[in-house]
Symmetry: C2
Subunit: 266 residues, 2 copies
DNA sequence: AGAAGGACCAGTGGTCCGTA
DNA sequence: AGAAGGACCAGTGGTCCGTA
């Protein structure tokens, strides 16, 4: 393991700590790294109702993290895990709408961190691909379950499939039109909108980009190397389809006005 | 439905009947075509132990087929379904090794017919892709379960996944080096080898082709438009991997003789 | 209330092995 | 015996909904 580049991180000061953590995690692929050790230093790993999970190294990617001298008493100071003697793993802090470069304060994570998780998944995919090629096994081109499993095993416990799939179209906008993405973030932050509202608002700008590709959203994703490794979200696909139909209907009716019914004006 | 081209068929006289059947089948996508009607004219469809299956229009793609006037008494003359009052569907006739252009005689199917089944699957895939695009759904690039289900629903009951997967590497050789494929068929026919032996013998020539691509069998498959829609068989992938390792080891040992251990001679 | 993610489920790729 | 294919199974893509 362990070729997680620092260059992507240096752009945001607040990511540098994460970068160091990430480096250490990657070094101990399979259960290790500082966070894994720290968590193992706490109590026993929780029992799941079901054992779908193959490993359970515990760690958190929260950008707000405990002080160094609390290593052996992980999150004991965290009221999220209240009085109940629980050693349940805490969830990631929720995202809030932040401007580019802004560090989220309090028990929150910012959107630069969200997008950084997509970059991390890409690194994990590249590792999985490398291993598959060495072994002569079939090689994934997308971020699959296998990649999420690998990330977890490498200690990136804060990466999970539902979360990553949930925000793919937001990351798509960030990749495809960073200026528009940044403007949207600033606007939604100013209006004090929550993450859900911002997330919803990310759909349309991506559909607008897709219009230039004849609403072929697969072509849009494939046009961008960092985006092409992600499955197109169902809802985004549906929105593009609806939009294409609308455009086709509009073109047809305008051609009725402007010419014969089978004549395309544009 | 129904754009099954005749051009691919006219090359072999014995395929012309199948071509007509195929046209009719395709016209009645979803349970129809002449074969489906014929089969429905027989007795009741069999009951499966399990109901994995969604539809079961019955038909056979055997190249040796009943006479036209037996339409209402399907396969009653076929001793494969012996005395037992069974209306069990008969299996396809087994393949035998035939030369290019040769019609299999008796209750056998020839290799041109085998390869023709791959072309049919491609046509079904194209149909499925067309429908998916119209609906704005995700569009398969390979022959998937969905395509096999579509083929069955379209009445091509003689197409099934285990069979198609079993002979993919044979079809690959046919696509990649038809001359070599033809020579192998003639040789194995002459030696009166069975289909299993011929099938085994198809692996190595494909690996030889792959050598020119650095043993990247995915690249080999992707290089050919009719082959690229098929998943690379696991065993073929493994053979290429082993062969690459062998070649690397040979190169390393020859470079020890010829130069330093890290020097590549070629 | 808004949000994170464990857990589930329908349908997949892959092929074994009971069948003829 | 050699071969065709129903049927199964482990792990997938997708996302709901019990949880915090």
């Amino acid at each position: 393991a362990g070729d997680h580049s620092l260059d992507a991180l240096s752009q945001q000061g607040f990511l540098e700590e994460a970068a160091v953590q990430q480096e250490k995690e990657a070094a101990g692929s399979g259960g290790g790294g500082v966070w894994g050790m720290v968590a193992a230093g706490g109590k026993k790993v929780r029992l799941r109702k079901n054992n779908y999970r193959r490993r359970s190294s515990s760690s958190s990617g929260n950008m707000v993290w405990m002080d160094d001298d609390e290593d052996e008493e992980v999150e004991e100071d965290d009221d999220q895990n209240g009085g109940g003697g629980g050693n349940e793993r805490q969830r990631e802090h929720p995202f809030i709408v932040t401007e580019p470069g802004e560090v989220a304060r309090g028990k929150k994570n910012g959107l630069d961190y969200l997008f950084y998780l997509y970059e991390q998944c890409r690194e994990f995919l590249i590792q999985v691909q490398k291993i598959a090629k060495e072994r002569g096994e079939k090689c994934p081109t997308k971020v699959t379950n296998q990649v999420f499993r690998y990330a977890k095993a490498a200690g990136a416990n804060y990466i999970n499939k539902p979360k990553m799939r949930h925000y793919v179209h937001c990351y798509a906008l960030h990749c495809l039109d960073e200026a528009a993405s940044n403007a949207l973030r600033r606007s939604f932050k100013e209006r004090r909108e929550n993450v859900g509202a911002w997330r919803q608002a990310c759909y349309n700008p991506v559909v607008v980009v897709a219009a230039a590709y004849g609403w072929d959203i697969d072509a849009v994703f494939n046009s961008h190397p960092r985006l092409s490794i992600w499955y197109v979200p169902t809802k985004l696909r549906q929105l593009c389809h609806v939009e294409r139909s609308n455009a086709a209907a509009a073109a047809a009716s305008s051609s009725v006005t402007g010419g014969g019914p089978d004549h395309l004006s544009f």
